[in-house]
């Protein structure tokens, strides 16, 4: 079963439009939502969670319409960019509140994550660092046996060691084929590390949604001269950067002559090339 199915989703704010978005996240997978500030990542997440109303389109979570029943949110763990936990509460109080909120809340899992991520149980949230706040948000999201995790910039503010630890937790989470993750982040390297699927959003439009391994197989970076580039089939070139030292082009590997050396592309470079090309 698909964890998430979005069809023809549109939301118009006047100055910004999320335009006809189509996404499918299969069960047991992690999808990374990549986009610049204002691309529509948070709007997409808010629409999925029915925090804002859509103009058109459909959203299905775990096979059910996202507006069908509020109890659907029992199966979703969410971490927002601002976390949203009241500043005066400590971790213990947050645990008690959530135990009265989620029917599947597991105190042991919560306590284990607090320990694993070194989160103090009695310190007020306002005294936490940004990274610590995120860690508590992640702990809450994981402690009620959710089937789908929705993470909006959940790794930002974490130091590299903790970020790595948290990414491992997300990867472990999807070992169960009923568990899935939708994660948006500016730190593309994080997404490249853990995601099975990558979706690029740019100015409210979906540029691409594809399996990460296929993307890395399909695309490559070609270093050449301008005249060499002009000899290539135009549809093979998806983006280019011209400098006095030569040309760097994003190309489809299977349309490039074998004798031309094509180097691997990172997801970050792929995104930057595509965004610049679409401007």
């Amino acid at each position: 079963m698909n964890a998430l199915e979005i069809k023809n989703l549109t939301k118009n704010y006047g100055g910004f439009k999320l335009d006809n978005l189509n996404l499918t996240l299969p069960g047991g997978c992690i999808m990374g939502l990549i986009g610049e500030n204002g691309a529509g990542k948070s709007t997409t997440i808010k629409l999925i969670l029915d925090m804002i109303s859509r103009d058109s389109g459909t959203i299905k979570i775990l096979g059910r319409d996202n507006r069908e029943n509020i109890q659907l949110k029992q199966d979703i763990g969410v971490v927002l960019d601002d976390v949203g936990i009241p500043e005066c509460l400590n971790s213990k109080q947050v645990g008690k509140i959530m135990s009265h909120t989620f029917t599947n809340w597991n105190d042991k899992i919560f306590a284990d994550y607090l320990k694993q991520l070194s989160i103090p149980p009695n310190k007020p949230f306002k005294e936490f660092s940004r990274g610590m706040k995120m860690k508590l948000g992640i702990t809450v999201a994981l402690s009620h046996n959710p089937k789908l995790l929705i993470l909006d910039e959940a790794t930002s503010g974490l130091d590299p060691v903790i970020r790595d630890e948290v990414l491992d937790i997300f990867s472990d989470f999807t070992r169960d084929e009923n568990h899935s993750v939708l994660i948006s982040s500016h730190i593309v390297s994080d997404l490249e590390k853990i995601c099975d699927y990558i979706a690029f959003l740019h100015k409210g439009k979906l540029l691409l949604c594809q399996e990460k391994d296929i993307l890395l197989e399909q695309y490559g970076i070609l270093h050449c001269t301008e005249s060499q580039l002009s000899e290539l089939e135009p549809s093979a070139v998806k983006g280019k950067k011209i400098s006095p030292y030569g040309v760097q082009a994003l190309v489809l590997r299977n349309r490039i002559p074998a004798q031309m050396g094509v180097s691997p592309v990172s997801i970050e470079d792929l995104f930057i090339f595509m965004v610049k090309e679409s401007v």
């Binding site: 808010k46 969670l49 029915d50 925090m51 804002i52 109303s53 509020i70 109890q71 659907l72 949110k73 029992q74 979703i76 969410v78 927002l80 601002d82 976390v83 949203g84 936990i85 009241p86 500043e87 005066c88 509460l89 109080q93 008690k96 509140i97 959530m98 135990s99 009265h100 909120t101 989620f102 929705i150």
Partner: protein, 220 residues
């Protein structure tokens, strides 16, 4: 909804200690004072609208958005604030009434009708504040909601003053005398007060319903 109520009580205990202390002082003053209506009504009046302060903190801490990700409907989120208000206001109401009973007995002036009237007055004023304020807050947020509330109160007050100036409402009308002493007790019948109570309850329920409607349409 228990999680929401628990969260509000944790927050009320943390953020509203100063308010709660003030409420206790006012109850104590009303206990030793001589029927000063201000000290009697103030604790219940303030306690009833404490959820407004909690909503401000919710907005500042981004809980408003976060609560939208939790398995709570918008009507549960709104209702939790009304219930918190009723609990806090109810607690002040009971304390104030107890203080009044003890004070009247100590002074040897116990009067059931007077006590009943204090109760009705507290009840009306305790419910009136949140009834008028909360729908604006749930529609516009605390900042704009507060401004809208003061505008409405200002317009209503201006209306009363205008009617007074043309002689429609006499300044000797009991309701105009509540500023100092309970001298109006003998002039307003309990039955009229009970009718006003019923109207205020209806207004409170309507306010609750309107707040749910407004909040359902609000985008988080």
């Amino acid at each position: 909804m228990n999680g929401l109520l628990l969260k509000d009580f944790y927050m009320a205990f943390e953020y509203c200690r100063a308010f709660l202390l003030m409420v206790s002082v006012f109850i104590a003053v009303s206990f030793f004072g001589d029927d000063n209506i201000f000290f009697i009504i103030y604790p219940t009046l303030i306690s009833g609208i404490l959820p407004m302060t909690l909503i401000s903190y919710d907005e500042r801490d981004k809980w408003t958005q976060y609560s939208g990700t939790l398995p709570y409907s918008k009507s549960q989120i709104v209702s939790s604030k009304y219930i918190t208000g009723l609990c806090l206001g109810g607690f002040s109401f009971i304390l104030t009434m107890l203080a009044s009973v003890v004070r009247m007995n100590i002074n040897g002036v116990f009067s059931l009708s007077k006590l009943l009237f204090i109760g009705i007055l507290l009840f009306i004023l305790g419910l009136l504040g949140p009834s008028l304020l909360f729908p604006f807050v749930f529609k516009y947020g605390t900042e704009k909601g507060r401004i809208a509330y003061y505008l409405i109160i200002g317009v209503l007050w201006a209306g009363v003053m205008m009617f007074m100036s043309i002689g429609f409402v006499n300044s000797d009308t009991p309701i105009m005398n509540i500023g100092s002493k309970l001298v109006f007790i003998n002039t307003v019948s309990i039955s009229i007060a009970l009718i006003i109570c019923a109207v205020v309850i209806a207004l409170y329920l309507m306010s609750w319903y309107l707040s749910i409607l407004f909040y359902r349409r609000r985008e988080l």
